[in-house]
């Protein structure tokens, strides 16, 4: 790292489209990669811990914090009254999410005070000593019961429509309706939330935060402190996983740390334990989907009317865009000629749900796939046949429910190739043959496609900045607004910069995301990280290159076209100058060797009022085939084989992209199988640690796991090196696992009936579905 020597002039290391290792891989495996809790603490660092409420819905009549204050090591306590600025963290500025709850408990586990002590252990112990007096109110943690109780929406619902769903339904060839429940999901990033704030002079504070969104942390901290953004600097080197869970949910911790740091003028660190992290921070939204569909005898959908209701929790957080995205994605790859889709972002007395990989898209899709499955069972067809009958066409049947035209459709080829390479048809037949023999163990197989729209639906978020410096010795400092959470964003952006300057990637030092370097950034989310930041960095490089070219052209007296960047050198006419040499010379000739790059996604627009626009720059496609075995006596199951073909455009880094696809699939599989959130009668979440909340293990990975990138694909749009986003789309490849399980269940009633298997399909749900079907 940081060496200035030029190497081979043949080809640079770490250029684009190469399977470069993650830039921190070496540090990961040695334990030297620094996460916030590993940093050297400033002398006198204090530790904060949150006190959580113990009621799902109650008035907090009084809080006796004497014992907390008097506990060993305690320096002080913060309550809502101690928030110097605004006691609000709402990312959409709805003023519905306090830093510390004020007089009310809106969910079981809501932070109601914070205690600051000399050590974390002391703070943690002290936090248990509060005596709180509540006046209980009825609570509703479940989305259906909240709807029945007439609970409000936390934000405005959305309606999308095209054609005339109502009349098409009433004149349906065939018609069916049903409902589905889809569970939520905890992010279970391995590194929990953490923040450390260091007070500065005047109103300044520096916050180290494990966040996907440093700019928002900056704004929230400033707001809570009652100051302005320029007083707050946020620094994020890396996260130990984010998955959406650190898009807004870090705000609370950063704000508490910053308030305490300013109040006591000492560094303050806050790190909840795993239970509190899972209890007090939001998750993927659980959904209830009600559908009414008309279809012809080939299974082609004539009309769909569906309502997607989500458990949003007590506040809006990102529930608006999440529920919007559910609607945007329930069409998946299928043309819906007459359609009406409605979202219901329901308030519930639970933690406020938030972003999670796919951002409502997965729930939308799995709801849509249920409709396909229902049609297939009703007609006695292979669901794949029904899928194909409904695929968006090329040049026809290609308008989405939000009136964007699907222009880059490659799902036909993806599915065709996968069907072939996975030997789907023959394997489906042998599954049917196996099941026909009866017996306890049943098999299922399913092929499901994915089309996922790329861009933030809030159009203004689709912008990014980068900062590139070349120092006199030719070493390059790279900074951009995206955050590294394991997805390899920094590696990819460094590859882009290496490619731009044609220097070995070792020449480039990747530096921590910092609001002082690149301002007004968007969250690293919506799979947009490398699309946006890669482009912004390329833009910065171009600016510097333009200056270098102008300089070289003038200095050496050659036309600009004859100045080119070749591996680790600059070709100036017939002279080959080492890159660092040219840089040194340019410096002495007072050429500016630093640039701020900027990018905004073109073409996109969206009008939420009319429900029309082009919210997505492009789509990423993929498909998977899953084969499973279930035990009809216990509901236990096993994923025998999975084949995947994923479109990532022209991959910036095939090794990283492959890892994203595999990881996303397994995470999606966890969501649909063993990961269950369970609230008790008091509205208390009881699955809040790995002992009770079960994410997939190595031994849950599909036994045979064949993952391919569609290497022929390229982005039709001008994205960074024609690549496509990869973070979220493959998450939904796991849909085929749920449907394969469902097929295995259906076999006990000879596939006459759609099992209507809800998610997560725990062994219990499988067995209960088997029983239901057996009982007929």
């Amino acid at each position: 790292m940081g060496e200035t020597v030029t190497r081979s002039s043949k080809e640079i290391t770490g250029g684009v489209h190469t399977p470069r290792q993650h830039d921190s891989a070496h540090k990961h495996v040695t334990g030297a990669a620094e996460y916030i809790d590993d940093m050297v603490e400033p002398a006198g660092t204090l530790h904060a811990y949150l006190g959580l409420s113990e009621r799902a819905n109650a008035v907090v009549k009084s809080m006796d914090l004497e014992a907390v204050r008097n506990a060993p090591g305690v320096v002080g306590v913060l309550t809502a009254a101690d928030v110097p600025g605004e006691n609000d963290l709402s990312p959409t500025h709805r003023h519905d999410e306090p830093v510390l709850a004020d007089g009310q408990s809106a969910f079981y586990g809501q932070p109601i005070f914070a205690v600051i002590a000399e050590t974390r252990e002391q703070a943690r112990r002290a936090a248990t000593l509060a005596r709180v007096d509540y006046e209980d109110r009825p609570h509703h943690t479940d989305v259906v019961s909240a709807m029945e109780a007439g609970y409000p929406h936390v934000t405005d619902p959305l309606q999308l429509s095209n054609g005339d769903a109502e009349s098409a339904l009433s004149s349906a060839t065939n018609r069916l309706s049903g409902e589905m429940r889809i569970g939520g999901q905890d992010h279970f990033y391995l590194e929990g939330h953490i923040a450390m704030a260091i007070p500065g002079e005047d109103d300044e504070v520096t916050v180290f935060s494990s966040t996907q969104h440093p700019s928002e942390i900056q704004h929230m901290v400033a707001q809570a402190l009652g100051t302005v953004s320029n007083a707050v600097t946020v620094h994020t080197r890396r996260m130990g996983g984010g998955f959406g869970g650190k898009e807004t949910q870090g705000n609370q911790f950063a704000a508490v740390a910053a308030i305490a740091a300013k109040r006591w003028n000492r560094a303050v660190k806050i790190r909840p334990d795993r239970d509190d992290d899972m209890i007090a921070t939001g998750k993927r939204h659980d959904f209830h989907v009600a559908y009414d569909v008309a279809y012809d005898d080939d299974g082609r959908i004539e009309a769909l009317d569906a309502v997607f209701a989500a458990r949003c929790g007590f506040s809006s957080d990102l529930s608006g865009p999440v529920t919007d995205r559910a609607l945007f994605h329930c069409d998946n790859c299928y043309f819906l000629p007459n359609v009406r889709l409605r979202s219901r972002p329901m308030k519930t007395d639970t933690v406020s749900n938030t972003a999670f990989r796919g951002f409502g898209g997965p729930q939308g899709k799995i709801g849509g796939e249920r409709v396909i499955e229902e049609i297939a069972y009703a007609l006695g067809k292979d669901p794949l046949e029904v899928r194909k009958a409904n695929f968006y066409g090329i040049g026809e049947r290609n308008v989405t429910p939000y009136h964007q035209v699907v222009e880059d459709n490659i799902i036909h080829r993806i599915v065709e190739e996968l069907e072939e390479s996975s030997d789907y048809q023959a394997r489906r037949q042998s599954v049917l043959d196996h099941n026909a023999k009866g017996g306890v163990l049943r098999k299922g197989i399913s092929l499901t496609p994915v089309k996922f729209g790329i861009s933030f639906t809030a159009t203004w978020f689709n912008q990014a900045g980068a900062l590139v410096h070349i120092y006199q010795d030719g070493s390059i400092h790279l900074n951009h607004g995206g955050t590294e959470m394991g997805q390899g964003l920094n590696t990819k952006v460094a590859q882009v910069v290496a490619d731009e300057f044609q220097v070995d990637i070792e020449t480039i030092r990747i530096t921590a995301t910092n609001t002082g370097k690149v301002p007004n950034t968007s969250a690293t989310a919506a799979s947009s990280g490398s699309d946006l930041n890669g482009m912004a960095a390329a833009n910065a490089c171009e600016q510097i290159k333009t200056r270098l070219v102008a300089y070289a052209s003038e200095h050496f007296g050659v036309p600009q076209e004859q100045v080119t960047f070749v591996p680790n050198h600059v070709q100036v006419g017939n002279q080959l100058i080492p890159f660092h040499e040219l840089v040194r010379q340019a410096y002495t000739h007072r050429v500016q060797l630093s640039a701020a790059g900027f990018y905004k996604t073109p073409k996109i627009h969206w009008n939420r009022e009319t429900g029309q626009g082009r919210p997505f720059f492009y789509y990423a496609y993929g498909a998977s085939v899953s084969e499973v075995t279930i035990d009809t006596l216990t509901g236990e199951y096993h994923v025998d084989r999975v084949d995947i073909l994923q479109d990532v455009g022209k991959s910036l880094n095939p090794a990283i992209d492959l890892g994203q696809v595999q990881g996303a699939f397994v995470q999606g599989m966890g969501w649909l199988t063993t990961e269950e959130l369970w609230w008790d009668g008091n509205g208390r979440l009881r699955t809040h640690a790995p002992s009770t909340y079960k994410i997939p293990l190595a031994s849950d990975k599909p036994k045979e796991f064949n993952v391919e990138l569609a290497n022929w694909s390229t982005n039709k749009e001008r994205t960074i090196r024609r690549s496509k986003a990869v973070g979220e789309p493959p998450f939904m490849l796991a849909n085929s696992v749920l449907e394969a399980l469902s097929m295995a269940v259906a076999s006990v009633a000879d596939y006459r009936e759609c099992p209507r298997l809800d998610a997560p399909a725990t062994p219990e749900r499988i067995l209960m579905a088997v029983e239901r079907l057996k009982q007929g």
Binding site: Q21, H22, A25, H26, H28, V29, T30, G31, A33, Y35, D37, V40, H187, F188, L190, E191, M239, G240, G241, D273, R274, D275, G439, V440, L441, G486, I630, D631, L633, T634, G635, E636, Y637, A655, L658, G659, Q662, G663, A664, F665, V666, Q667, T674, R686, P690, S691, K694, I695, P696, L697, A698, S699, D700, K701, K703, F705, P763, E764, L767, M768
Partner: protein, 493 residues
Amino acid sequence: MPDAVRHELRFILNSEVVHLNDVAPTLTLLDYLRLQKRLTGTKEGCAEGDCGACTVLVGRLGPKGLVYETVNACIRFVGSLDACHVVTVEHLADLNGNLHPIQQAMVDFHGSQCGFCTPGIVMSLYGLWLETPNADAARVEKTLQGNLCRCTGYDAILNAAEAMAGSDNSGDKLVVTHEAITQKLSELRDGSRVEIDTPSGKTIVPGSVDDLAEILEAYPKATVVAGSTDVGLWVTKHMHDIAPAVFIGNLVELQTISEDESGITLGAGVTYTDAFDAISRGIPTMGDLWDRIGGEQVRNMGTVGGNIANGSPIGDTPPPLIALGAELTLQKGATTRTIALEDFFIDYGKQDRAPGEFVRSVFIPKLPAGDTFAVYKISKRRDEDISAVCGAFRARLADDGTVEDARIAFGGMAATPKRAKAVEQALVGNAWNEATVDQAMAAFEQDFTPLTDWRASAEYRMLSTKNLLKRFYLETQGQAVQVVRHEKSLAEV
């Protein structure tokens, strides 16, 4: 009093011998490493033994000499480390910063994404490679049962492990230093009692079993800590005070396994890992159950004695041991007594153990020739999960095909591990066929009234419990009715 009392704890940390005279009973190895030694490569992901981010190796002088095993530093107490060798991820790369082959393989195969699980995974794979350098996929997966990774989907990690398989470990640092470390640890293990007074109470490491008996008579309210896979969580999750704490993990006398014609006797301090061979060889299906208790780190620390003494209704060893007719030997002072294991469990949270009394051993009678036995565990996730139900079945058929004797015990179905006596009765004397089984299945409703909780609903517990009898029956008829991930090699069957 024992011959000698020492007031400091001594162990080796990587290459350094440490002497500690202020070890609070609740001080975890993870906090010690991260906060006191600033060895921050070892991570905290959960502080409850379930994620493996804190995995380190502990070398101990067990019955088989010096062995290095992966453990969860988050729930391992420093008090239990006297005369042990703690190896953290910082010990792996050489002094020039060259990566250990395991680390290199993880880099080469893109085995890390966010990197937070990675040091723990590296340590688990390292532990495996030291023990079984040519591990197959099934073995690797078993090794990683206690390591969660949320990013990678595991494929890349398994590829890294596969690439390591078969490579020579004889030049490895811990292999090379094996003798010297053995020597050093033997010196550190001087047979004296360690007793350390701290502001938060006493940390005691008995010098021998006699010494333990003496200590417990003196401190009848002391907390006995064996593998700390239960006690660790009382501290890290519930912040309980456990002082005075008596750490018995060092007592090799409690780690004996003896086998004879009548059966197997396990000392109370035998870990799951150490018990595996005897248990899996002697009793059908027990190896499969064993492999699904916790993850490798938990099995390396946790003991059968602790599983019993803990008295949990969802512990996995009591149901099969009760079905097998196991007996428990307890000791108080110099007096021992032996009871039927099923009588040990009186009620929820209540066991037949007097203050100052400790579990000495458990005797598992040999399965009589002709008896059929099976134990089944049902959990939401197959591996490293607590049972929703765990049921064990033993049946003996008479020559006329009727059931002569039946013994069935379940965990997860009542406030204690409990026998299904109504079901047993419904079977005995009847022909061993589907009709008998169907009618006996209903009798579970007389035996059990299970609860609904986050692991399973009452209905599911009852239904799957009934169906497990069906499974047992079908298996006696030679049918394969369970999902299997890895076909067993012939040697294992």
